[in-house]
Assembly symmetry: C2
């Protein structure tokens, strides 16, 4: 089950959505059984695009920021989920250390305040230990709205990580380590460091995630009796691309063309009158950098120097070499005429809420995670809008957000598969 | 953590409440460790009275009705908790059978609709199987508000309980079996029957519950450094009372007097200028029947015939013989001038919501669970009212409902101890 939130898209529920809504008990049971075999990531956010004819995750974040964008009504769900997560990992825990991104953005710091609040209410003393070398002593920062956050320098001893006079049982990373794993975080064996370091963008690859998601969507599609393409974005990849030197452009052109052809075939099969497009992304990228939309393979050869430069570096200055070419999924959602995409937030195995990422200056086929985007919180739906067994027709309206919660959890399950497959400490039984 | 709900009592937070609020992480950790050792009841509701100087549970219901009185905002929490409960018991479950009370009260039936909705959203096919001998074929009843509920006759085979063409993994009792355990529910070994039969009022005794609660409140009081009396109602009991024949009245008089003396001493210790009172209840009773308020032991001898008759029978016509004499706890809560007491709802180990039981015609020292009572749902508190670490003084107001959630969970933990102690199938390691 997911919280019932009002979604922006008010058009009629389509066949796929109806199938998902009708299959709720079977879907929930399917997840229940999956979580018996697989461990959910500690927390996850998933960007989703709903094209009307298909619905798919486009990005799965294992170090979600933006918790401050959830409405207050979602807080108890987040806390309850945090309690469930902590119980499993370290029930005797008193102290939790959060390691944030190295930024002073007040939006990001408001996210930290919210995370601190969630875990405090779940029964932990929470302090924030920065790995930013500029934080040499505790710094307290006032935030808009009257709250405060204190960043403290992290203290590493031979065996443990903590703060001065603060020894945590669990360390929660809220930093995706795009710039690489700092030595201070390595060789921690006595404490729980979550998510594990191989979930960071210094190790993770989008293509591995979507390979896992492909597997998950096939199994889910089989259970539900639907074509997995309806929930899965097709993809290809190129391993050696250098946008500055224009190396690997043939690989890119060939793969973009091949993917566009596959998508075109699918559109024909379903009678969809839209122009297919693909999105080229850094395979190790995040935060919306190093991303471009391509509608024709010939655009690759004609790429401007400025566009090539933008693609050449992703977050934290990491050079792009491996790229993923992903089927573009249109977003049909609008808030006040601005293009929007839902973002679903999960803690442990539970959906705790969501919001819309809105961008007034971007198109329905463009990435919205870019400067100028804003966030529209999702409200809880009125009780009369909840789907309800035994209700008279018309007395209950379907809830589109349920479906977003299902897709979000499928992507989270894929991340669980992905982390199992890439775990450097996994035991191999060959 | 408990949902932050607005409480009716707006007076200043007293010392006890402040201590509880300040100790949130320690309290949550304490519960976390308790639940590692003890299994929470499947679902629980607890009536709480807040006298200002003390705060205590007065009734712990292991077959809670009234789920329909929770606001829609609490539904996701209830569903998430139901998911956690089901995962532990029978993760592969597809079907859940609910056994209701034998009543056609539309209020009660609305409760069934809500329970059905909660477990449906948690991923189960839910049907309602009545043990009422009058239900011989499926009956669909229209409820105010447009919803419907279908009651079906229960079908017992040699080994299993179900409906025609419906074989559940888990059977959820929502009937407290005050009238005794029917044979049809006995000898079920292949399916989960929850709560277990020894949680029903045909076996349960209030005195055993409050004995367990005394133990829990002592341990909790020690952890928090408070006098357990501040959260615990004192009690005595009489084993052989026959109100019709006026037998056992001396025992009652003596114990009422002794208890009033103990309470008076406590009031003196704390400088409380209230008149102590005790409540005499059927030890196996429920639903507010067989209850009287006594302010002076001499009232027992002078009991009118009508009052004696009312005491002589509790719910479902069970004769009262054992009685519990419990310290009365005033309620200081008011909604529109009517006396009110908070009722806290829990599923598995989680507080999912609450409401006020309100009675315009009852006093602050009287039982409110009586004809004429109504229910006032509790709203979620505004985010600015949440207690928050790192907030500037004045920017955050304390939340009284947190404390009610703590007391509710202490009573639930006591019920867990009680059920362990009374389990007929428990293994004894002597």
């Amino acid at each position: 089950m997911v919280p019932h939130l009002v979604t922006a898209l008010t058009g009629p529920i389509n066949e796929l959505e109806q199938r998902v809504l009708d299959s709720m008990p079977a879907i929930e049971r399917w997840f229940r059984l999956e979580w018996m075999e697989h461990t959910p990531p500690f927390y996850t956010s998933v960007d989703i695009r709903n094209a009307g004819f298909k619905l798919a995750p486009v990005d799965t974040n294992l170090y979600p920021g933006g918790w401050n964008n959830l409405t207050p009504e979602m807080l108890p769900l987040a806390v309850q989920s945090a309690m469930a997560a902590i119980e499993k990992i370290c029930p005797e825990a008193k102290n939790l250390l959060v390691i944030p991104e190295n930024t002073r953005s007040t939006f990001y710091l408001a996210n930290l305040v919210q995370l601190q609040r969630i875990f405090h209410m779940a029964g932990l003393n929470v302090r924030i230990g920065s790995i930013d070398p500029e934080i040499k002593a505790p710094v307290t920062i006032d935030l808009p709205g009257g709250s405060q956050v204190t960043l403290e320098p992290i203290v590493r001893t031979k065996r443990r990580l903590g703060l001065k006079d603060f020894d945590p049982c669990t360390i929660l990373l809220n930093n995706d380590l795009s710039a690489g794993i700092p030595g201070i975080l390595e060789e921690i064996h006595e404490q729980y460091l979550l998510p594990p370091l191989h979930a960071s963008w210094s190790v993770r690859r989008k293509s591995k995630h979507f390979k896992s998601y492909e597997e998950v969507s096939k199994r889910f599609g089989k259970m539900l009796g639907i074509d997995p393409w309806l929930i899965h974005p097709l993809f290809n990849m190129c391993g050696e691309v250098d946008f500055t030197a224009r190396a690997g452009m043939e690989c890119l052109t060939t793969n973009v063309d091949a993917l566009l052809t596959r998508v075109r075939k699918k559109y024909k099969e379903y009678g969809i009158n839209e122009k297919p497009f693909v999105v080229v992304k850094a395979d190790n990228g995040t935060s919306g950098m190093g991303i471009m939309t391509v509608r024709d393979a010939r655009e690759i050869a004609g790429l401007s120097d400025a566009a090539a430069r933008r693609m050449a570096e992703s977050k934290a200055g990491q050079p792009v070499s491996e790229v993923i070419i992903q089927e573009g999924v249109l977003t049909n959602e609008r808030i006040n005429d601005a293009v929007a995409e839902p973002v679903v937030y999960m803690m442990d195995r539970y959906v705790v809420g969501g919001f819309y990422r809105v961008h007034a200056e971007r198109g329905i086929d463009e990435n919205l995670n870019a400067p100028g985007s804003s966030f529209a919180p999702l409200a809880f739906a009125e009780s009369t809008r909840l789907p309800q067994p035994g209700m008279k027709p018309g007395a209950s309206a379907p809830n589109r957000f349920y479906m977003y919660g299902v897709i979000g959890r499928l992507a989270m399950l894929a991340a669980s598969y992905e982390l199992e497959a890439t775990d450097p400490e996994a035991e191999v039984y060959d």
